[in-house]
Amino acid sequence: MKSARVAYEGDIFHAALMEDRLKLSNGKTVTEEEVVWLPPIQTKTCFALGLNYMDHASELEFQAPEEPLVFLKGPNTFIGHRGRTKRPQDVTHMHYECELAVVIGKQTKNVRQSEAYDYVAGYTIANDYAFRDYLENYYRPNLRVKNRDHSTPLGPWFVDASDITDPMNLKLRTFVNGEKVQEGSTKDMIFGIPHLIEYLSGFMTLNPGDLILTGTPKGTVDTKVGDEVITEIEGLGQLKNTIE
């Protein structure tokens, strides 16, 4: 089951996909363009992974980490499907990052890898933009690079865990103005979903609604004002964003 959060005629609704239209929780059916898409999850704690695909780590001339490289993001950074993300004027390198986002469903601490999927509610797509000009070597990557307003599109759908047979074998692709620029598979993660859940819950409590953005594969290139960026994950849909 796929569900979205959308704004329509002055209220916020859950929406389900019905053929090529959206069925709102008040019974109305509308088109994708008639609504404002909101992030499908309102997260309290969002973890993100750096350098979690071998080919991306090499692309950035980093050794693969021996322990997950985790950073946190605040609520200001999320924006829904079909939203706009600002490219600051002084930036020379701003790139998308297509990432599988894992939504935690139950509170947990000290969970083992073998039971980790019991705590996953579902999945969505994140585009975790990076603004490389702002990288500095303190708590890197820091919030000025990774937590700017509206710079993490999320959605369009929250997809139930039961709909995804093997989350560790999904194709990821990114298109800029229709041209394919990034392609990879979640099977190439250095630290897979069960490992990440065991790692994080090993030192802190995970709560329902927590998000884990699992990193991006190779193929990150600079994007310009006006570019339309579509991040796509097999079984989860296509998340569209425009740079302004």
Binding site: F71, L72, P75, N142
Partner: protein
């Protein structure tokens, strides 16, 4: 003279105003009927690294060496996620893999209204008030990578006991906090030593990210952070803001 402070107590899910006044040089309330304190904030809690001049000086030439290569230009921030938040008089659990913790005594700026790209001049208009924060960490010298495992443990961010309104803090640029461990004075931290004073910090942070009503931005911790171990009582004291006290205990396996 007494003032009203905003607090959340006794397992209630709403906030209450308490009368507070200065006794023995520190802001206090009559707490006879108070059984427990919750963090008096709802939003995201952000910390600021290296915002104390002496802490920056203590890093010395390290700032220009690998892996840092140069001193920081923009504010260096981190998040204390929701599982870390705890109230006044809560116990801080000492994880099994360490024998000591760093006490990061700080002042939390509590945001009063949504702040985005604000200027230094208007910064105080966006502040509801101030609270005390104990930003606990597992000691780590290297600050190249985000210190999630060291800083994001359950209960590692006692905050409170209450929020003092901005109007009752007449000289925020001249506050002093003192840290005591088991009654011994261990550290002093002065807001006059900040690399970025409060208005400048708010300007530089909201340049790239919005702070919402209820969010907390810590002004930074001092230098030479006190270390504590199981059984220790940490007391963070400020004449204008009150006392935040917590005890460290060993986590049971």
């Amino acid at each position: 003279m007494s003032i009203n402070v905003r607090a959340r107590m006794n397992s209630r899910h709403y906030d209450e105003l308490l009368q507070a006044s200065s006794m023995n040089g520190v802001l206090q309330v009559d707490d006879a009927s108070i059984k427990s304190w919750a963090p008096p904030v709802n939003g995201t809690v952000y910390g600021t690294l290296l915002n104390d001049r002496k802490a920056v000086e203590a890093m010395g030439q390290q700032l220009n060496a690998a892996p840092y290569k140069q001193p920081p230009k923009a504010p260096v921030l981190y998040i204390k996620p929701i599982n870390t938040l705890a109230g006044h008089q809560s116990d801080v659990e000492l994880p099994l893999e360490t024998d000591e913790l760093h006490v990061g005594a700080s002042i939390g700026i509590v945001i009063g209204k949504q702040a985005s790209k604000i200027s230094e001049k208007e910064a105080y208009d966006f502040i509801e008030g101030y609270t005390l924060v104990n930003d606990i960490s597992i000691p780590h010298d290297n600050v190249f990578r985000p210190a999630i495992k060291e800083k994001a443990r359950d209960g590692f961010c006692p905050i409170g006991p209450w929020v003092v309104s901005y109007a009752d803090v007449t000289q925020p640029e001249d506050l002093e906090i003192n840290v005591y461990v088991n009654g011994d004075h261990k550290q002093q931290f002065l807001t006059e030593d900040l690399v970025r004073p409060i208005p400048k910090l708010l300007q530089d942070v909201t340049e790239f990210m919005t702070l919402f009503k209820g969010d907390v931005l810590m002004i930074g911790c001092g230098h030479d952070l006190p270390k504590v171990t199981a059984g220790d009582t940490v007391r963070i004291e400020s004449a204008e803001l009150g006392v935040l006290e917590n005890k460290v205990r060993r986590v049971q396996s």
